[in-house]
């Protein structure tokens, strides 16, 4: 595997229709909002979770593509239980003794983790060792995704034709008069959806950090594959329809890069589509138009004129 030798910066554009892309635990699972601008947010960790899930799904069991930070109890846990039952845990030692003795050993552990786990190699991980030696900084870093226009979350009340337990059923039955068991058992719930939102996230891939963790060109391909397909395998009642719409990658010729990332990101502009015409999002003439409800209400433009030397634009989706 050849390690990555060129820096990359990327713009990920994805949308959501009638779903909640990322709930805010502080606001009763309402879609995340920037309180000052009402623009929607999707946290970096939410996107990384989906990348991990995709890689786990697509590459289960392949050497070097294990996922360290996992969601849900999975087979490995069972393996371990079987293993423990069979041979017994190598316990008896105090946990302190299991810390690496010196930097060389810590490095060995770190390299082993990087070799085996895709997410450690890509995003990094912190191990329970000394202050600096147990930390892996991954080459891939993503920012919060922001919606391009303010979003307006809608609260939907839903009902369920069943009660959780008998006590609840009893309580409901007291209030009801007609004795219809179907309505007696009814409980109400809430769902928050964003009718439509187009989100943009920025990402950075440092070739210098890739050298350290062994993140290879093949890993890069897999990362882009994951960014393209991750929403296809993350369907759920809450998410609605989420889709990766564009993945625009700026490939630099060398490891350090050939242009500032912010200047490259500025080359990607998103505007409203008014009868096939590009209109800037702050265009005052847009006031009479209905809110965007589909991807074709937007136009994504990439300014390829006068690209800095040594920067190549890859339009992957």
């Amino acid at each position: 595997m050849t390690t990555l030798s060129r820096r990359h910066d990327f713009v990920l554009i994805f949308d959501v229709a009638n779903g909640n892309p990322n709930g805010d635990p502080d606001a009763g699972n309402l879609p995340r909002l920037d309180p000052e601008t009402s623009h929607g947010l999707v946290s970096d960790v939410s996107l990384k979770r989906k990348i991990r899930n995709y890689v786990e799904l697509a590459r289960t069991g392949e050497a070097g593509h294990h996922i360290y930070v996992q969601e849900g109890a999975i087979l490995n846990e069972k393996h371990r239980q079987a293993y423990t039952a069979l041979r017994g845990e190598t316990s008896g030692k105090k946990e302190a003794k299991l810390n690496p003795r010196d930097d060389a050993e810590a490095r060995e552990l770190r390299d082993w983790m990087c070799r085996n786990f895709f997410d450690v190699r890509t995003f990094g991980a912190v191990m329970s060792t000394g202050i600096n030696c147990g930390q892996v900084k991954g080459p891939v870093q993503m920012t919060f995704a922001n919606s391009v226009e303010p979003i307006l979350p809608v609260e939907i009340s839903i009902t369920r034709m069943a009660a959780t337990n008998e006590a609840e059923q009893k309580k409901r039955a007291e209030g009801a008069e007609d004795g219809d068991t179907r309505t007696d058992n009814r409980t109400m719930g809430r769902k928050h959806i964003v009718p439509y939102g187009l989100y943009v996230a920025h990402g950075f891939i440092s070739a210098k950090f890739a050298e350290r963790t062994g993140f290879s060109e093949a890993d890069l391909e897999l990362l882009f594959e994951a960014l393209t397909n991750m929403f296809e395998h993350d369907r759920s009642a809450a998410r609605g329809e989420m889709t990766t719409r564009r993945l625009i990658v700026f490939r630099h010729e060398n490891a350090l890069g050939n242009a500032p990332a912010h200047k490259l990101f500025d080359r990607v502009t998103i505007g409203r589509n008014v009868d096939g015409e590009f209109r800037a999002l702050d265009d005052r003439g847009l006031g009479n138009h209905a809110p965007a409800r589909k991807f074709s209400d937007y136009v994504v433009q990439i300014d390829r004129d006068g690209l800095p030397d040594g920067v190549e634009v890859l339009d992957l989706v």
């Binding site: 930070v69 969601e71 849900g72 191990m127 440092s206 050939n258 200047k263």
Partner: protein, 254 residues
């Protein structure tokens, strides 16, 4: 004495965690010197040099926002990894995030922008090939071209920092400098103006009129000393600028 450099950094959010409020992270009001050093090191650093932060200019009003996220409660236990490594079996090396949940809020800064004034000193590990001019050239060249070792960040890595070199000749801070608005909007100004503070930011909040005492702030972490103790200094915002005491000065407390 070497020549100083000035770097303009900005971003959408920043989280310079206070050491005393690190579970539910709360940011310092402004960028501490150690974070500024980390940004410079992301662009250029060698064991032969040591960055020293001289001054931090605060260009935007100080505003906060709260973000709560699901986080995991534990680090990867080195012991488990070692056992798995020795027996050559990956079983058990994993972190089950939904059984190890911690919801933590972060109080982050909104739309921060700074100018870092700094210089570097040669360390004991410098040899004959390490001249000050060489490292200064490398830094200036990289910063001007947007090159970096890794993309610098404002405190934590999800809050990426954009950066631009401030021309050595430009004066700082010049109120309402030409093209500054364009620069903020991400456009390409015709000239390279010195970044300046918006006039509406020149408020007592940033120490205009009377100096604003920010209390004790992390100066840096002493990585050389055993136990890696924190070094603190009393930060004061005077007309939007924090003067950072030099290393070893009595103002840097242990």
């Amino acid at each position: 004495m070497t020549y100083g450099i000035r770097l303009h950094v900005w971003g959408r959010h920043a989280l310079f965690t206070r050491p005393e409020l690190k579970v539910e992270r709360t940011s310092y009001d402004v960028m501490p010197p150690s974070a500024a050093r980390g940004i410079l090191e992301a662009i250029h650093w060698k064991p032969a040099i040591r960055w020293v932060i001289d001054r931090i200019h605060v260009l935007e009003p100080i505003r906060f926002q709260s973000i709560r996220r699901n986080e995991v409660g534990h680090k990867a236990p080195a012991g488990t990894i070692k056992r798995a490594m020795n027996r050559g079996d990956l079983g058990g090396v994993q972190l089950l995030v939904d059984e190890d949940r911690q919801q933590r809020a972060s109080t982050v800064l909104v739309n921060p922008a700074y100018v870092i004034e700094a210089h570097f000193e040669l360390t004991a590990r410098a040899d004959a090939s390490d001249t000050e001019g060489k490292h200064l050239d490398i830094f200036n060249r990289r910063a001007a071209r947007g090159q970096c070792f890794h993309q610098p960040c404002l405190g934590t890595r999800e809050f990426a920092a954009s950066f631009a070199l401030v021309d050595p000749g430009a004066s700082l801070p010049s109120p309402q400098g030409p093209g500054w608005g364009d620069l903020c909007q991400g456009g390409t100004p015709t000239t390279t103006p010195a970044p300046s503070r918006a006039r509406q930011a020149e408020m007592p909040d940033l120490g205009f009129g009377t100096p604003r005492d920010l209390g004790f702030m992390l100066w840096d972490i002493d990585h050389a000393a055993p136990g890696r103790p924190s070094l603190l200094f009393r930060a004061t915002l005077r007309n939007g600028v924090i003067d950072v005491p030099p290393p070893g000065s009595p103002e840097v407390k242990r």
